[in-house]
């Protein structure tokens, strides 16, 4: 899982003459704009270094002209890098001979294009079989394989149609099928859904995630849509003026933007979709139903600054008790109050991958939310105040506020 399928180190692309001089200027810290003004050369990509792990979707995001297409085309050598190293399975694309490059493209890396780039004079089946044809696979078997892949993307009935008979979304499915049929492990996708309308786009994103669950390809996905990046990307690289300014998971990028550029990007993102219960939960402090007295429980809460605690009955979650209720029950004159009397058994539970926007409802009860695993065991708890804090985007400040409220709520 952690193997790097694709490793890029210090890759540069300069469009224009006298690349060495431009490289020197770049090393002196000159900006893309200054270099354009001074030498007339365009810096496409500068000093890109990253690794793509096996089976992950690595999203490259940035505004128009930030060098995304250039970067992704360097990965399969369509654009030769001016400097740097691009390793695929230990082979350096930048140094590969034309024949070696062709072999790598046939066997290891396929590409899917924004405007589909289907061959207009061929049927869908022929289009999908293209990679195999190039590889010299006999007609019969490549046709069979093409039909299988068309089936996977739901286009088998159109196998003998021409691309022009299809809608954009369907054409891109063919593009995807052509990439998949070639059988390479790495897929490069340059804004594959950029030309589709929003509904189809959504559908295709879901379909890609679906396919990816079974296929486990290593995907480099280009987009300029942050929501798409957050939805699809296991990790995201953000580009600006040819530089990669930050690489990280969606959560990392949203919580800790590397600079103002990234911060501006993520400013109006729907945080409820980015974060999950996992991101806001904490280790639970629990008490045992039978062994703990009301007084001990109250003391633990006072010491830990908690206003509610989960009560376990052996391995099982029995329920939750709140400070207010326990304190009230202790006032009760009857001599033998137990935790059982104050136990709330109707507590909210979620699993770790529940998104914050779904947690929002559960947080409404005011009780800490139990995060349970597939065997119903308590793995963590989420404080309602943390949900709100993360949704508002100001986790630290909100946390402080929540702590203050809690302190106020507690007697003494």
């Amino acid at each position: 899982m952690q193997d790097a399928k694709l490793a890029v180190s210090h890759a540069f692309k300069i469009f224009g003459n006298d690349a060495p001089a431009v490289l020197k200027l770049l090393r002196q810290g000159k900006s893309k704009q200054e270099i354009l003004a001074q030498t007339g050369a365009t810096v496409g990509v500068q000093d890109a270094s990253f690794e793509v792990r096996e089976g992950e979707i690595f999203v490259v995001m940035g505004l128009s002209g930030s060098g995304k297409s250039t970067l992704v085309r360097m990965l399969n050598g369509l654009i030769p890098p001016t400097a740097g190293q691009i390793l695929i399975g230990g082979e350096d694309i930048a140094q590969a001979s034309p024949a070696a490059l062709r072999r790598i493209r046939r066997d290891k890396i396929s590409m899917i294009f924004q405007h589909f780039a289907l061959f207009p004079h061929w049927t869908l089946a022929e289009n999908v079989a293209y990679g195999l044809k190039i590889n010299g696979v006999p007609r019969e078997s490549r046709h069979k394989r093409a039909l299988e892949v068309l089936e996977q993307v739901g286009l088998a009935p159109w196998a003998d149609s021409l691309p022009s008979d299809l809608s954009g979304g369907m054409q891109q499915r063919v593009g995807l099928a052509r990439g998949l049929a070639a059988g390479s492990d790495i897929l490069l996708m340059d804004e594959p859904f950029g030309a589709l309308d929003p509904l189809i786009r959504r559908e295709m994103q879901m379909e890609l995630l679906n396919l990816q669950q079974t296929l486990k390809k290593t995907i480099v996905f280009i987009t300029h849509d942050l929501n798409e990046a957050l939805l699809l990307g296991n990790r995201i690289a953000i580009m600006k003026d040819g530089c990669i300014v930050q690489i990280g998971t969606a959560q990392e990028i949203v919580t800790a933007p590397a600079d103002d550029y990234v911060a501006a990007f993520v400013a109006d993102i729907d945080r409820g979709r980015v974060f999950t219960a996992d991101d806001v939960s904490s280790q639970p402090t629990t008490i045992q139903l039978r062994q703990t007295s009301v007084r001990d429980a109250l003391r633990m809460m006072e010491q830990g600054g908690a206003h509610a605690l989960y009560v376990m009955d052996g391995e099982r979650v029995a329920g939750v008790v709140t400070y207010q209720q326990l304190a009230a029950s202790e006032m009760d004159p009857s001599p033998t109050t137990t935790l059982q009397d104050a136990l709330i058994t109707d507590f909210p539970t979620v699993d770790a991958s529940t998104s914050l926007s779904e947690l929002y409802g559960a947080a409404g009860s005011g009780l800490p939310i139990a995060v349970t695993d597939e065997r119903e065991r308590l793995v963590a708890v989420v404080e309602p105040s943390d949900v709100l804090a993360h949704l508002s985007g100001d986790a630290v400040a909100a946390e402080a506020l929540a702590n203050k409220e809690q302190a106020n709520a507690q007697p003494r």
Binding site: N76, L78, L101, R102, R103, I104, R105, R106, D107, S110, M111, F113, H115, A117, F119, P120, H121, Y130, G131, K133, I134, N135, L162, G168, R178, A182, L188, A195
Partner: protein, 310 residues
């Protein structure tokens, strides 16, 4: 008035004479003689075939081809036209002319299509070829009749060689154009899947350029037809000879009859090849788009894409 000629006069004609007579002809005559062998044999073969097949069979075949490619009207015209040519006694001359121009067009295609492919794939090759084609198209054909006679002698084959020189440029130009206008994103896709240059040529460039190439072939054919009278001056036979003879004797009737034969042949061949060109391109970009792209190479490709996306 003072003019440059008062200072220097250049014996340009002598230089050319010295070059052609003194160097080219003595040194390369055997080479040029050998070069006409393939042309002579293709011509002989075609002419024998056309003269051997009965008039009715030939007419039927052409009518069928016209019907398939250009419709019923053209088929009827072919039958009437060929019958008329036969009735005015020019059938054999027409077949000789047909054999000549088909030979010329065949060699134009054999030379021109690969040259066009080369020009499309290498900017250097195109930069070299382009002025040569310009000269071939603008130089009056009478000018190169003399050197051709000197190098190749007189007869049918030199006439065909003159025709080839004259009719070659369009097929080269349009092959080059057709291949260069294949959408860049398709080329990129082919490359991304690891295709070799040849695979790309066969799978993508030639099929998508076919319509334009066929249009080039049609133009080449028409230009070859327009050369038959001139080629007859250096020994080409057929209808060209009929027209020339008519001219020489001030025989309006004879010259007109030959002319009518040429026109009938031109119309029939033009329509058939145009029909072929149209059919070969149905699945690719249209010729009109391709030609439009020639004048606005940057503007058309995105416009086409926008059309598709929208």
């Amino acid at each position: 008035m003072l003019s440059p000629a008062d200072i220097v006069t250049l014996p340009f004609d002598d230089w050319v004479n010295a070059f052609v007579r003194g160097w080219l002809v003595p040194n390369f005559r055997p080479f040029f003689r050998a070069a006409q062998v393939p042309i002579t044999s293709v011509l002989g073969w075609l002419e024998a075939a056309f003269l051997a097949v009965p008039m009715l069979v030939t007419t039927a075949l052409f009518a069928l081809a016209a019907w398939k490619t250009a419709g019923r009207g053209m088929a009827i015209f072919t039958i009437l036209g060929f019958a008329f040519v036969d009735m005015i006694g020019l059938w054999d001359d027409t077949m000789t002319t047909l054999a000549m121009i088909l030979t010329a067009v065949f060699f134009c295609a054999v030379i021109g299509i690969p040259a066009g492919i080369l020009a499309a794939r290498s900017n250097l090759a195109w930069r070299i070829m382009r002025p040569v084609l310009d000269v071939m198209q603008t130089i009056p054909s009478f000018v190169y009749l003399v050197p051709i006679v000197m190098l190749f002698g007189v007869g049918m084959t030199p006439g065909i060689i003159a025709t080839i020189v004259f009719a070659l440029p369009p097929i080269v130009r349009l092959t080059n154009l057709g291949i260069r206008n294949v959408r860049a994103d398709l080329i990129e896709a082919a490359e991304a899947f690891g295709s070799t240059g040849w695979q790309m040529l066969w799978d993508l460039q030639l099929p998508l350029a076919m319509r334009t190439i066929m249009a080039g072939l049609n133009q080449t054919l028409m230009m070859a037809l327009s050369m038959v009278v001139i080629a007859a001056l250096i020994g080409g036979g057929g209808l060209g000879l009929v027209v020339n003879t008519g001219l020489g004797r001030m025989d309006v009737g004879g010259a007109t009859a030959g002319g009518v034969g040429i026109v009938v042949l031109a119309i029939v061949l033009d329509r058939i090849t145009q029909g072929l060109a149209e059919r070969s391109g149905v699945r690719g970009a249209s010729l009109r788009q391709t030609l439009a792209g020639f004048f606005r190479p940057r503007a058309t490709a995105p416009a086409l894409e926008a059309e598709k996306a929208g």
